[in-house]
Amino acid sequence: MEAESSASGAAGAAAASAPGEGSTVVPLEVVYCGVCSLPPEYCEFGATVKKCTDWLAGNHPSLHQKLYSSEALESKMGTMTLEAQQKAEKDLAKKQQKEELRQEREAAKKKSSVITIKRVERTKRKYVTVVSGIEAFELVYKTVAKEFGKKFACGSSVTKSAAGTEEITVQGDLSDEILEELVEKYGIEEDNIRQVEESKKKGGSGAG
């Protein structure tokens, strides 16, 4: 660190004329699109152009002005042949349509998917609560399990169900609390959550 600062201090006086040398390189701050995460100038190649432009206009109006003014649009098209342009546009339109469809599908899927909160009996009066299906709402099992453990001060872990899918097992009868937590903290509609109680296996107790 010391070496660096002294070097830049010495060079600072002289380096004004040689910007490319890198003796006083300052990191550039780059704005990234909030929709597609690329630098805004590449948004036009993505599938969510419209949303990206709106986002940029709302969040960085000056940059939006620079990138999407009519002159900028014109100069951009300058070097490509007409044929190539048309082809590119066609491709892009196709891609956009696909993306829109995909999003629609995803939204529909989200609406129809359900989180299950299951109360399972351990012993006569002890229960564990099993939560499954949260992946459809873009939640990660591991982190949510940790959060539950912290919130309810109990054991909470990710386990594999018999079907091979993941689920969260929370120790204790917490189904109502978890329902509330899911609605409040993770913003999931109550209609999408189902509470189930696992019935005791009939005849299973006799074997032990």
């Binding site: 660190m1 070097a7 003796s23 990191p27 550039l28 597609c36 100038e41 590449y42 190649f45």
Partner: protein
């Protein structure tokens, strides 16, 4: 390399001696970066190693990937670093027509590097085969791809055919998505 989303299998802390080695290697590979290496990779910082499939290692600091490396090949910077310090990396430019293919993950073909909109270094600044380069695009400010030269830039000019740069990391690929989450 990162066409699919990266599925990492946990991260481990890197030994400080190994970290010193990595640092030195980066400096050797990108001499221009040496002046800012303390900002990119502070000496005291604890780097994390994230192992990705197919022998790819990601070097991350505070959950942000800074560099990546395939097996024992050259270390390559994440695009975010290139965006921050564009002048520290050797750069070539492609024409506008090639951008959409790059963002789709295609290999970079020579004609895209030699057409009027593109820029290659002059003969005296010839970059040899195997150099890690940042790829800029015509009319754009920021780099859109990191690649390895498949032939020297002079050969690209001469042959003007075939695969010029191997696409290792591009905007919007698995590695990029991983970080923006």
């Amino acid at each position: 390399m990162f066409k699919k989303p990266v599925s990492s299998s946990g991260k481990t802390k890197i030994k400080s001696s190994v970290q010193r080695n990595i640092r030195q290697k980066i400096c050797e590979q990108f001499p221009l970066l040496e002046s800012v290496i303390d900002d990119v990779l502070p000496k005291k910082a604890q780097l994390d190693l994230i192992k990705a499939p197919e022998k790819v290692s990601l070097y991350a600091l505070d959950n942000q990937v800074l560099f990546f490396q395939h097996h024992n090949d050259a270390i390559m910077p994440h695009l975010r670093i290139v965006h921050k310090y564009p002048q520290c990396f050797p750069t070539v430019q492609v024409d506008r027509g090639a951008i959409r293919f790059i963002l789709g993950g295609a290999q970079l073909m020579c004609p895209g590097l030699t057409s009027p909109g593109a820029k290659l270094p002059p003969p005296e600044g010839n970059l040899p085969e195997g150099t890690v380069v940042a790829i800029n695009a015509e009319g754009k400010e920021h780099a859109c791809m990191i690649g390895v030269l498949k032939m020297s830039t002079e050969d690209i000019k001469k042959l003007n055919k075939g695969n010029g740069v191997e696409n290792c990391h591009y905007l919007g690929d698995g590695l990029w998505q991983m970080d923006s989450e």
